[in-house]
Amino acid sequence: MSGIARRRFLIGSAALAGGATIVACAAPERESQVQSFVLQPELSLPGQELWFATTCAHSACGNSVVVRTIDGRAKKVEGNPAFPVNQGKLNVRSQAGVQSLYHPDRLSVPKRRRGLRGANEFEDLEWPAGLDLLSEKMSEARSVVVITGPMSGTRARIARDFATAFGGEHVVYETVESTVWRKTVQDGLGARRLPYLDIANAHSILSFGADFLSTWLSPTQYGVGYGEFRQGHGERGRLIQVEPRMSLTGANADSWVYVHPGQEGVLALSIAQVIAAEGLAPPDNWFGVVSEIGGLEALNAYAPDLVSERTGVPVERIQAIAREFASHQPGFAIAGGPALASTNGLDNGLAAMLLNHMVGSLGQPGGLLPNPDLRSTVTPPTEPTSFADLAGRGNTWLEGEPPDVAIVFEADPVYGMPEATRFADALGKIPFVVGIGTIMSETLGHADLVLPSTHAFEEWGDYVPDPAPRQHVVGLQQPVVTPSISGRSFGDILLTLWHDLRPNLAPPWDTMRDAVRANAAEVFRGGDFEERWVELLKNGGGWNDDWAPEFTRTPNWHINLLAEPAFSDNGVEYPLHLIPFEGVALGGGDETANPWLQATPDPISTATWTTWVEMNPTTAAALNVSRGDVVRIETAHGEFEAGVYISPAAAPGILGVPIGQGHSFGGRWREDRGSNVLASLAPLTVAGAGGLAWAATRARVRPTGDYRQLPTIEVLPNARNDVEEVIVQVTNGNGDHHK
């Protein structure tokens, strides 16, 4: 081992295993041998269950979990009841963590590229050889870029400082961005951190496209609040969802309101105009704010009768929304999903924030509440890089100024960036790309060196949930099982390289465990730290109340700035709107390798394992297609195939397509399945925020003449062989479906 000190490598490996020795490519040796009961592996008592609190930091869900282990194997993941974010509850993706831990196609050894980039031709390496190769390339590099998924805490601190030490920068890539919402709350509320949604105490929620019960930001946290919102207090909360495609949250709304894509801001201002004109909220709440951002005259230009046609919402419906929202306070308005993914998405979001100012619930129970600022010793959740920023970097690399080395970890921009950005080509310009992960992805498939990382349940880390639950929270992550493969954690790999190549700039920690402990000692001071450390590990982290700055009373916006949405086409050649969406199980596609999640029915269509397109019956009739017909969806920037799902909730002219499928890498359950809708999107950006305007692409549909039965859970009447019919009406409307 020339480049990397062998002793340091072994130190890192041992720390990963919590002190136990690990071996490569197999179950830990001691666990596969007949042993005396007095010589059992550490913490492994035959038949005895052990529970470890940890954080599923990799899935960015912010949930803390307790993992049930028996005989050194993880068996079940439960929510950590002590943790203030998820309060003992879990979503589907967190539940599936054990399946990604024991995935048969997990990367188990380092791999070096043999063929062309993206050709999926690799040869296996020993770890020392892999690290030596990386060390050699890093020692020659003048600049480096570290591309990761969203991360926080010690891991983010190491990634950022490591990149800086090597003359580069840390880029955070989210497949479906939160950047526009972050900018919205900065400009609209003056909030430096994402606000807390006091759903449990709200009497009304007006959501412009935010699918907060499914995938938006922190759905488990929001789900806990939603249960209380509905049946937890005296007045049952009212939910109004405004969006062009019915999301899971929309399916649960008391009022689901269709709006033309990109017109959410116009509708929000129209609701504001009704509130002002009808005196539905005290003028003290809103007169000053409205005056500062354009005045009543500007607002009156959005009277319902003036914008009804533009938004697609009847005048009476706009008035009804305003009355329902304003008369059931406290409550709040939020924006997400397609509302923020239009070219005018930031304006749409800021128009929605105006409603919060008007009803006066900002900072009040049942409204949006500010989250505490982070203490200086904690690395805040790293700000995601916007689509425009990353696409711009890609262009720079294409033009001949790429960094020398790219380190990619748990980010898949080759999959998620529209093909029109040529991001795969841009990555190809970087002389040496190393990918670190648990399973192959499109981006790792373009790497020169692939290093297997440990799973979240096999490594140390910490996590700062964002949005926080009105408290200062640090979740701790600890190994709950001994690694069964020879993976190393992302943080340990960086620390090893750092100490070896830039010892003068390296932090004082040899391993991630040391780093996490040191960070915890800084954050949770006082008393005997050893006792405190054990307590922190036992609880899954630490949290306490902290000071939170108030929201600003003056939005950084003007009504006259509300722009018309732009689309990829004028609507003649491509007459339909393409609305991609994240499914509750597959999200942005990073969990697609997991068979539990593949088989989890989409709540709206009940479809599994494939890519479908939700289509209104009239749209389908005009195209002469039926359920299960395979159609080719064409945009000005690409095309893909999907099976038709006729949905009575789909709006005419809207094509709802799930994100997540269409991979060429990632194992038996992920590869060559469905289509990647993201690849065909137009590279349009959200003005002022830089996010990808993923709801701004127009499309056309061509039948292929093929038919494939949709793998749905719903069983349709007359479903015999290939004959399936559309459900349009199945209940008597009182919810008593089987009575």
């Binding site: 879990l90 029915p601 009575p648 909730a649 859970i713 009406q729 009182n734």
Partner: protein
Amino acid sequence: MSSSANEAAARASAVSEMGRTIPTDAEVPHSEGVRWGMVVDLDRCTGCQACVVACQAENNIALNEEQRVLERRAKTWIRIERYWEGEFPNAKARFIPVLCQHCGNAPCETVCPVWATYHNREGLNVQVYNRCIGTRFCANGCPYSVRYFNFWNPEWPEPMNNQLNPDVTVRTKGIIEKCTFCVQRINRAHVTAGTEGREIRPGEVQPACAQSCPTSALVFADLNNPESYPAQLAEAEADRSYTLLEHFGTDPGVIYLKKVDPHAEIHEDEHAHAGAHA
């Protein structure tokens, strides 16, 4: 006695004999007077599927690969049924988690020729896998379609088998399986409580679905205990309370609370032509 009367008597005698041979679980730890049950509040349920995956993880349910879904042979001990009401722009989706109802008068129990399914002393509809011979009479008799037949042996490619729950039997080809209310957790709670010389405490045991449910739409407890939260909930929300297909007289142990729809009156006209789909 006429020959037909003799024949009837003989049949009755045989049934009586068979009745005496019905196995009991007298030796299994149990609490007298308990009826485990669940209240499902559809006003809280969002259809998020967390319960579905939690159940699969806890109960070693075979992977539902695409082909199984296409064949309508996917196994989901709890599933979220989605029903549509109305059409765009007034379409509404309704979600109902459907699991074994653990009926007091279970149609599945009476048709099993080998007593692989029976009612235990705590109100559970129990499936004994190593008695089942796969007639599928029970699945045909179940009006809720919550009994699943194993057409194949389950497979978990190594090392995925590491995740299997050692408390739950892996079912082989040729037998029926279904929701047990996570009986392994109940039994474990009995052992723990017995060791400590007490009864199971309210809330001490939860099936995996209820434990994971973010909105607490699923709550589990002894329905016979008037102090239990589900019993109180069902009482307090009596106007929203119903059971699935209650006219069949199956006496389900799962009580549903209707979703509240403040705008139901708006679409009454549309519902007037409602039809029912199986």
